[in-house]
């Protein structure tokens, strides 16, 4: 299913889309495939595969640690493509989240070609702003991939409009000023940012990320956003589990809780 279809379907069901994130190759290639398929089966509408990178400046300690583990075990860019292929083949809608240098090193057009062939619908680029993205924009067009850039509470109206205009699929709204990681409360800046995006383009789905860790928080975000993006809390299920089976069952349980949350949006505002 394309990202656009996923958001359409959710809208028809009067609910938000749940996007669950997991680093590729964490803790091993096969384990990460199992984790992602478990998340998909337990209710994540979209699987966001994060390509592990040595210098993830947008990520908090949980994702950093998971990425370090994957890298220390030798995960390669090609493994990430293989993981995407396996998860997409299992029926999940998959997007890739990646810092820019690994893509530049692979070759932007070649990577876009291989990413599309692996079955991903598009790419989220946390450290690539549209200003520097000419090559990726062209490659995404050629290989029919969606482009998700980030917007932030600090973005000016002008930049917000420019960034949303370059997105296809959905736009990623960073809910608060800071790095990834579950927080005890959802930022009040988030609803305002979603409103500002809708003001520039009412048809562009908005996913809200950074800080969501529970079903109740997912419900709160689902009350104002089109998509709820969860990363660190899911990764922690695996990171802190004593063994693989426990990790998978915690992952299923949290995915189900979050999926329940996006189906019962709290009308917070």
């Amino acid at each position: 299913m394309s990202i656009a279809e996923v958001f359409h379907k959710a809208k028809a069901e009067d609910r938000a889309v749940l996007v669950g994130c997991m680093p590729a190759g964490f803790p091993t290639v096969d384990d990460s495939i199992a984790s992602m398929i478990a998340m998909h089966e337990a209710g994540c509408d979209v699987i966001e595969v994060e390509l592990p990178y040595s210098d993830p400046v947008m990520d908090g300690p949980v994702i950093q640690r998971a990425s370090d583990i994957a890298l220390s075990r030798g995960v390669r860019t090609r493994d990430t493509l293989r993981i995407i292929d396996a998860v997409a083949s299992a029926g999940a809608t998959v997007v890739l989240m990646t810092y820019w240098n690994p893509i530049e090193k692979y070759g932007v057009n070649a990577f876009a070609r291989d990413l599309a062939a692996a079955g991903a619908t598009g790419m989220i680029t946390p450290d690539l702003i549209p200003d520097e993205a000419a090559e990726w924009i062209a490659a995404a067009d050629e290989h029919r991939l969606d482009r998700t850039f980030l917007v932030s509470p600090s973005s000016t109206d002008e930049r917000l409009a420019m960034t949303v205009a370059h997105c296809r699929g959905f736009v990623y709204a960073t809910a608060l000023m800071g790095v990834t990681g579950a927080r005890t409360s959802v930022s009040s800046q988030a609803p305002e940012l979603v409103d500002r995006v809708r003001h520039t383009n009412p048809d562009m789905p908005v996913g809200v990320g950074l800080g969501v860790g529970t079903g109740a928080q997912a419900a709160e975000v689902a009350g104002f956003a089109d998509g709820v993006i969860v990363g660190s809390a899911l990764i922690r299920c695996v990171l802190e589990a004593p063994d693989r089976a426990t990790g998978l069952s915690r992952l299923r349980a949290l995915s189900a809780e979050l999926a329940e949350g996006v189906r019962n949006p709290a009308k917070a505002r």
Binding site: D55, V57, M58, R76, D131, L150, M177
Partner: protein
């Protein structure tokens, strides 16, 4: 070859530079850019900066003709004595400029990354002077190796945060400073320590340290009546090098040489030579030369000199390299230490190990310059810092430390 007009408005030096940052930082970078543009043309700001440089930092630094070293090397060696500045290195120029800029932007807090601690100490110094809160991120490995500098920063009122992620060194400290900044941009200026990172940092830092080259060029003309044949500097992130190069870029007769940290030798893979041993990539906000593997993952750098131990380089150097305006060569740890010793013994000057890389490179190119020019060449070397901080490292390298009392902190300060 119109370097003075670069970077372009979006911060590019040819294909290098730019902004590869989270959107959350763009507004802060735009504000910094605007504040800098207005400060650049504001005579009040410029006078304030100039006054601090002269009355506080002790510039212009001397241009010293090193007689005995010249004799030994068969070249006329001029040393730009940045080691004599307050805090002992060229870095004081950058921190004073940026701390003034932070004040101008109304930001009460500065953060900085540091490797060996030199930029951290300089930042803490400027913050103390200008009454700013200062937080310094430093890799845990480095806080252990450089305990004395940690104490210096604390004495100057700064908070030192040991970084435990990744390789626990400079690059991870930089990542952590960026993470802090994403969350604190409203109140905080990121006082970046070298002419690298996202636009406008490479330009701002270059301009703040650009006095090195402007002074040296004028001093050459006044003292010799001519320009040098070569300007040589060490290159890690590259701020001292761009600081001395920039004024000479339009002088076509002057060759520019940047000497990178070759560590144990570029062929061994254990080095910090981003230009001569790395490849084009994106790291810490800019496109430049980077030490990376075939997947674009950053590779750890190695150098005996903590100040050069960084897997990237400022984007303007990448551009100067590609255009051929400047030459870059690696200098190994052993070559640098030989030059370190030579300067100690011939001139009574203990250089920073960083600066010793520039001396070693200058010594190496003398024969080719003599052949090329048919006369004794004149080489201007940026002696970017003093070596007090390196006494322990150098003492261990040369095996001259007393085995019982390896180091007396008071004597290293």
């Amino acid at each position: 070859m119109s370097a003075p007009t670069l970077p372009d408005l979006s911060g590019h030096f040819g294909r290098y530079g730019g902004r590869f940052v989270p959107e959350a930082l763009v507004r802060a970078l735009d504000e910094l850019d605007a504040a800098y543009r207005s400060a650049k043309t504001d005579p009040v700001f410029q006078a304030e900066f100039e006054s601090l440089l002269v009355n506080y930092a002790g510039t212009p630094s001397l241009l010293y003709r090193a007689e005995r070293l010249s004799e030994r090397l068969g070249a006329e060696i001029l040393l730009k004595r940045e080691d004599l500045n307050h805090t002992g290195a060229h870095k004081v120029r950058n921190v004073l400029g940026q701390a003034l800029l932070a004040k101008r932007m109304g930001k009460p807090r500065v953060i900085a990354e540091t490797g060996a601690g030199q930029h951290g100490v300089a930042s803490a110094t400027a913050a103390a002077l200008l009454d700013l809160e200062c937080v310094v991120y430093m890799g845990e490995m480095d806080t252990e190796r450089q305990a004395l500098n940690v104490a210096r920063m604390r004495m100057l009122g700064a908070t030192v945060v040991p970084v435990t992620n990744g390789s626990r060194t400079l690059k991870d400290a930089l990542n952590e400073a960026l993470r802090d900044w994403v969350a604190s941009v409203d109140t905080t200026h990121y006082l970046l320590g070298t002419a690298a990172g996202p636009h406008p940092f490479p330009e701002i830092v270059r301009d703040f340290v650009g006095g090195i080259g402007i002074e040296a060029r004028a001093q050459c003309l006044a003292q010799l009546g001519r320009l040098p044949d070569v300007v040589a500097a060490c290159v890690g992130g590259g701020s001292n090098a761009i600081g001395i190069f920039h004024a000479f870029v339009p002088d076509e007769s002057v060759q520019l040489y940047g000497f990178e940290a070759g560590g144990e030798g570029v062929a061994t893979g254990r080095h910090a030579a981003s230009i001569t041993g790395g490849s084009s990539g994106v790291l810490h906000g800019a496109r430049t030369y980077v030490l990376q593997d075939s997947d674009g993952q950053t590779v750890e750098s190695h150098s005996i000199s903590a100040g050069l131990d960084y897997p990237g380089v400022g984007p303007e150097h990448a551009w100067l390299h590609d255009t051929g305006r400047a030459e870059y060569e690696p200098v190994t740890d052993d070559e640098a230490m030989a030059a370190f010793q030579l300067l100690c013994l011939t001139e009574g000057i203990i250089p920073a190990i960083e600066s010793a890389h520039a001396l070693a490179g200058a010594a190496r190119i003398v024969p080719q310059l003599r052949a090329e020019l048919g006369r004794t060449p004149t080489i201007l070397v940026n002696l970017s810092g003093r070596g007090d901080k390196d006494v322990h490292t150098a003492g261990a390298y040369f095996g001259i430390l007393d085995p019982v009392e390896a180091i007396v902190p008071g004597e290293n300060a």
